[in-house]
Amino acid sequence: MAIYSTNEFKGGLKIMLDNDPCSIIENEFVKPGKGQAFNRVKIRNLKTGRVIERTFKSGDTVESADVIDVEMQYLYSDGEFWHFMVPETFEQYQADKNAVAEAIKWLKEQDICTMTLWNDAPLSITPPNFVELAITETDPGLKGDTSGGGGKPATLETGAVVRVPLFIQIGEVIKVDTRVGEYVSRVKD
C-alpha cells in the first residue's frame, strides 16, 4: 500500500482515515511564520459521503486507499442486490443497498454509470450528470400553459420523482440533471 505525505495531498487523492476510504477535497497549508506547520484538510468519507475537516502536522503520512472509478453498465436488481457489468471485460459486480443508495433511482437497466470500487468491492455508484427518462405518472397539465412556472410532481420510469412544468404529459421523455435532481428539458424524438 502506498504512503502519502501531507505535501502530496491534493484534490481527488484517495486516502485511508479512521479505517474508511476517503477522498481529499481541499488541502489548506496553515503555518505561522514562527511555529509548527499544519495541513487543514477537507475530506469526503467515501463510505458515508460525509465531509469532514481534519488537521495534520505537515509532513505526517497516511496510507493510500485502493479506490478506483470504473464505467459499468447497470444490468438488473434481484431485490437484494443490484448487478453491474464492465462492458469491456464482462466482469460482473453486485452492489448492496448502501452502495447504490439514492443514485440508483436515476438508472434503468442497460444504462452506463460510474462505480467506485474499494479493494475491488463496490463502494458507491454515480449516475451520468444528465439522464433521459420517460414519465409514468403525473397530473394532467393545463393545455396551453408553456410558461413552466409553478410545476407539478412527476414519477419517472425508474421510480424517481421530479418537479416538471405543467405542460409535461405522461409518456414524454425528459432530461434530468442528476446532481440536483431537477428537470432540464423535454427530449424531442
Binding site: N27, K31, G33, K34, G35, Q36
Partner: protein, 325 residues
C-alpha cells in the same frame, strides 16, 4: 504543461508597483536607509520549523554550499552592528516546502530595523504603514493592540501562560478539533500554535489591524525576553482579517544568549532528523561587536498585496507562482 501566461492580472502587477513605490516613499520620508543584502548566504537560520533551499556554488576548483536566505535578518543585523542606523530592505525570501493559499516558497519580504525604538513605537509605525498602503482598498483601518494572553483568553477562555493539558484538550474537542490531542501531545508550544492558528486567528474581527504583542516566551526566536516578566518575549505579530502579515521583535543583542538559542535549535533539529546546519559565525561576531538597541519587523508584502487587490490566494498576486515559475 503549465500556462506561459502570468497567473495574476495586469491590474495586480500595477497595484504591486504602486505598493512598492508607496513603501519606498514612506521610508524615504522617515530617513530610513534602503539596503540590499545577499540572497545567497554561507549560513542559514537554525529554526527547526523552517526548511531552506541549498545551492552549489562552483568556484573552480572548489565547490561550496550556499543557502537561499529564509530571511535577511542576520545580514541586516551585521549592517546595524556596523553603524548603519535605521535600515529597510525589500527582498525575496525562500522557504522550502511552503506552498498553499497563503504561501509560495519564494516570496517578497519587507524587513526593517529602527535603532533606538522600543516595540510600541515600531508597532505604531507598522500600523501607520499598513494604513497608508491599504487606504485605497480598505479605507481607514482601525488598530487594535492586544496582548497575546488577553486575545487568547477572550477567544478560548484558556490561559496561554498557564498550560493545562486537560483544559486545552477539552477546549479543542469541544471546538471540533479532537485530533489536536494526538498532534500536540503534551507540548505547550504546539498547543499554542494549533489553537492560535485554528481558533484565535479565524475569530479575529475583519478590517481591523491586530497588533498582538507579548508573545509567550516558549518560542522567543530572536526576541529579547521581557525583563519584567520572563514568561513573555518582546515580540509582536500583525494580522488583518485573520491573516498573519508580519512578525517583530525587540532584538536580542546578547551574543551568548543568541548562541545558546542556536545550539538548542540545532539539538532540536538533530532529534527530529532534520538537515544539519551551522551557526552563522559572522552574525554572532557582529553581535559580539555590539548590536545597537533596536526593534525590527518583517512583513509579507505579497499578503499585503492580497488585501490591497481583494484577492483570496497568494497565487492571485504573483506573476508566476511556483507551479508555473
Amino acid at each position: 504543461m503549465a500556462d506561459w501566461r502570468p497567473a495574476c492580472g495586469l491590474q495586480q502587477l500595477r497595484i504591486r508597483a504602486q505598493l512598492l513605490a508607496e513603501t519606498r516613499r514612506f521610508f524615504a520620508d522617515r530617513q530610513v536607509l534602503e539596503v540590499e543584502t545577499p540572497l545567497l548566504c554561507r549560513a542559514t537560520g537554525t529554526d527547526p520549523q523552517l526548511d531552506f533551499f541549498t545551492t552549489a556554488y562552483h568556484a573552480a576548483p572548489y565547490r561550496r554550499t550556499l543557502f537561499l536566505q529564509t530571511s535577511p535578518e542576520f545580514a541586516m543585523k551585521r549592517l546595524l552592528a556596523a553603524g548603519s542606523g535605521s535600515i529597510y530592505q525589500i527582498c525575496k525570501a525562500f522557504r522550502n516546502g511552503e506552498s498553499g493559499r497563503l504561501h509560495n516558497p519564494e516570496f517578497t519580504l519587507l524587513e526593517w530595523y529602527r535603532v533606538g525604538y522600543e516595540l510600541p513605537a515600531l508597532m505604531a509605525e507598522v500600523a501607520l504603514l499598513l494604513q497608508t498602503l491599504l487606504a485605497p482598498a480598505c479605507g481607514e483601518l482601525a488598530v487594535r493592540p492586544v496582548g497575546y494572553r488577553q486575545l487568547f483568553l477572550e477567544t478560548t477562555g484558556l490561559d496561554a501562560l498557564q498550560f493545562g493539558l486537560a483544559d486545552y484538550r477539552r477546549y479543542a474537542r469541544e471546538s471540533g478539533f479532537a485530533e489536536a490531542a494526538d498532534l500536540c501531545g503534551d507540548e505547550p508550544g504546539l498547543w499554542l500554535d494549533f489553537i492560535f492558528s485554528h481558533c484565535v486567528q479565524p475569530a479575529m474581527a475583519g478590517n481591523l489591524i491586530y497588533l498582538v504583542h507579548d508573545y509567550p516566551a516558549i518560542q522567543p526566536s530572536l526576541a529579547r525576553i521581557n525583563s519584567r516578566d520572563p514568561r513573555l518575549a518582546e515580540r509582536f505579530e500583525v494580522f488583518i482579517n485573520g491573516i498573519e502579515l508580519g512578525n517583530g521583535f525587540f532584538e536580542l543583542a546578547d551574543a551568548l544568549e543568541q548562541e545558546s538559542r542556536f545550539d538548542a535549535e540545532i539539538a532540536c533539529r538533530r532529534r527530529q532528523g532534520l538537515a544539519d546546519v551551522e551557526k552563522d559565525g559572522l552574525f554572532l561576531a557582529a553581535l559580539q561587536a555590539g548590536l545597537p538597541a533596536c526593534s525590527g519587523v518583517a512583513i509579507g508584502l505579497d499578503r499585503v498585496l492580497m488585501l490591497a487587490a481583494g484577492v483570496a490566494e497568494i497565487g492571485g498576486v504573483l506573476a508566476f507562482p511556483v507551479a508555473n515559475a
